[in-house]
């Protein structure tokens, strides 16, 4: 069509605002995660049965020492929330590192070598997508007992598909570019071409995928912990906090509202940041 539509300008301003909001949320979460031991006002594990279920500051009958109130065992909710942030971020990042290592290796190999190898890669991706993630993760943790390491490894082994898909397709594109062809001709080794030409060129796409995966891993960890087969208690994972507070939610809804909102805001922030990065890099993340 000779008449192309004009893309209007105002999107930019709005986009950059949402990206900044995302970056801010992520920044705050990182600070909470790293400095959690210094930031918590109380010991997040210390129980005090005389101070059970104190309401947060906006309700009546609060205790100023416990801004967000206390849980059913009298533990400070704010401290548990901050500690939970540490756990969410830790799991999100480590799971993504594991899945990125797997997915990028598989995807780049398939995209770069093509042929039989690529067929095998595609098959692996299809198989992976057909496996119900939550169920398998639950089963593994249920069988082997819950621990952070096991959880990270399990989720990492399950969530590499998007890395593989994007790494594969972008590698294919880069492989056909002129400068890569030139490198071939100059007699560079495969490894040199991969590490020197291909990886830097697909990195921006992978960074965007990484943000999406961190968000997904955090949500999954929360869901698994909620079902009792994620992070082992008494660690204050947000999912676990919601599960433990579930019995009290009809009388004091804030017990599940607080950790839920924290989870929602963190994941939203990561997604906003990822969205902004995607626009900045012009990256593709869909299969």
């Amino acid at each position: 069509m000779s008449v192309v539509s004009v893309t209007a300008g105002p999107k930019r301003g709005w986009k950059s605002i949402s990206t900044w909001i995302g970056a801010m949320i992520v920044g705050i979460a990182m600070i909470c995660a790293i400095f959690a031991p210094l930031l918590v006002p109380h010991d997040p594990f210390a129980q005090d049965l005389s101070k059970r279920l104190l309401p947060p500051f906006w309700m009546e009958g609060t205790n100023p020492d416990y801004i967000l109130g206390t849980d059913q065992l009298g533990r400070d909710y704010l401290s548990r929330l901050i500690w939970g942030c540490r756990i969410s971020v830790l799991i999100g990042v480590t799971v993504t590192v594991v899945s990125a290592l797997i997915g990028i290796t598989i995807g780049v190999l398939g995209g770069f070598l093509g042929g039989r190898v690529d067929d095998a890669v595609l098959f692996a991706i299809t198989t992976r997508l057909s496996i119900p993630v939550v169920l398998v993760a639950l089963a593994v943790v249920g069988l082997l007992g819950s621990s952070m390491t096991l959880l990270v490894l399990t989720l990492g082994l399950l969530l590499w598909d998007r890395f593989a898909v994007v790494a594969r397709s972008t590698t294919m594109q880069v492989r056909n570019l002129d400068f890569v062809a030139a490198a071939w001709c100059a007699g560079c080794s495969r490894f040199r071409i991969l590490s020197g030409e291909v990886l830097p060129n697909i990195a921006s796409h992978l960074v965007v995928v990484a943000t999406l995966e961190i968000a997904l891993a955090i949500l999954l960890e929360a869901a698994l912990s909620f079902l009792g087969l994620g992070v082992p208690p008494p660690l204050p994972s947000w999912g676990l906090m919601i599960a433990e507070a579930k019995d009290y939610m009809f009388f004091s809804p804030w017990v599940i509202v607080i950790p839920g909102v924290a989870l929602f805001v963190l994941v939203l922030g990561i997604n906003l940041l990822g969205d902004g990065l995607r626009d900045m890099f012009g990256a593709r993340t869909d299969p």
């Binding site: 069509m1 000779s2 008449v3 192309v4 539509s5 004009v6 209007a8």
Partner: protein, 318 residues
């Protein structure tokens, strides 16, 4: 009686940044073929789309007068315009491969336009579609009606587009480079078909092309566009015999005699390209490429008459 299509001082700009059409005037009489020629990017398609009110969002259109059969089009509502489009005025495009909807059969796409504008049964619409397919030279019309666009070649698809445009017996047919995307042999066939239909049905036709061979053979009247302006307009024989504007002369330099022009003679054998013009531009847009340019060409240039129904836009006298 007023002319079939009157376009006077049409202006189109995109987001206030690009002035694609700058005061172009074109008149199509009933039963006349008016050719609009000019290099790629000079605003021919935008002019045609502006007439049909099919411009992309973000385009702004204004005109001193834009009228079809004496009826003002600028003040017409969207639904009033939709009532004319495909009905009394129809348009075919440069891209036959992509102009038909891949998801529907030829028959369904042809009959829907008739059923939209005229009260007919599906049966009668199908009959008319088959008749018209035969009329545009498609064999086995019944079979074609049930086929999908991807099953047809480019030439066939353009014939379908033509037949579809004729479904409601339009008075005006706008054809925007209808043969450019086709094979050379097919080009000649489609062009002969269009010229024949125009004559037989008494259509008014606005034919956009950059092929001077086509112009010489089918046009009654020619308007030459450059950078959004009609720089010269004249009856065909007059224009070929007596071009006035330096740009027209440049176009015709190698091919001065009508009837002796080789087909597919490219336009733009003149060095340079069409400048992209923003709002507030003054003077002659051709001056960068013109052999006769001088300081006065940077100011407003006059429009001269050069005989009956012949005018041009240049500082040089007639």
């Amino acid at each position: 009686m007023s002319a079939l299509l009157e376009v006077d001082h049409l202006e189109v700009n995109f987001g206030g940044r690009v002035s694609a059409v700058r005061g172009a005037s074109v008149t199509v009489e009933r039963g006349e073929t008016h050719c609009l020629v000019g290099e790629s990017g000079c605003g021919k398609s935008v002019t045609a789309l502006a007439v049909m009110n099919l411009l992309a969002r973000g385009a702004r259109r204004s005109a001193k007068r834009l009228a079809f059969e004496g009826q003002d089009l600028t003040g017409l509502s969207d639904s009033g315009m939709a009532h004319l489009r495909g009905n009394a005025m129809a348009m075919i495009f440069q891209e036959p491969m992509t102009s038909l909807n891949p998801a529907y059969t030829v028959g369904s796409q042809m009959t829907e336009v008739l059923r939209r504008h005229k009260k007919t049964t599906q049966r009668a619409a199908t009959d008319r579609a088959a008749d018209l397919l035969a009329r545009v030279g498609i064999t086995a019309p019944g079979l074609r009606l049930g086929q999908f666009p991807h099953q047809l070649s480019g030439g066939l698809r353009q014939r379908v587009m033509i037949a579809m445009a004729l479904m409601c017996d339009p008075k005006l047919l706008i054809a925007d480079e209808p043969t450019t995307a086709l094979d050379v042999t097919v080009q000649a066939q489609i062009l002969r078909l269009l010229a024949g239909l125009q004559r037989d049905l008494g259509l008014g036709m606005l034919l956009i092309t950059h092929d001077l061979g086509i112009v010489a053979r089918v046009a009654h009247r020619v308007s030459v566009m450059y950078a959004g302006e009609v720089v010269e307009s004249a009856p065909t024989a007059e224009l070929f015999a007596n071009p006035k504007h330096p740009y027209t002369k440049g176009l015709l330099r190698c091919v001065p005699v009508p009837g002796k022009i080789r087909r597919d003679e490219p336009l733009g054998s003149i060095p340079g390209t069409v400048p992209r013009i923003g709002p507030g531009f003054e003077g002659c847009a051709f001056r960068e490429r013109c052999d006769f340019a001088d300081a006065t060409c940077a100011h407003t240039v006059p429009r001269h008459a050069a005989g009956v129904a012949h005018d041009f836009l240049c500082r040089l006298p007639a």
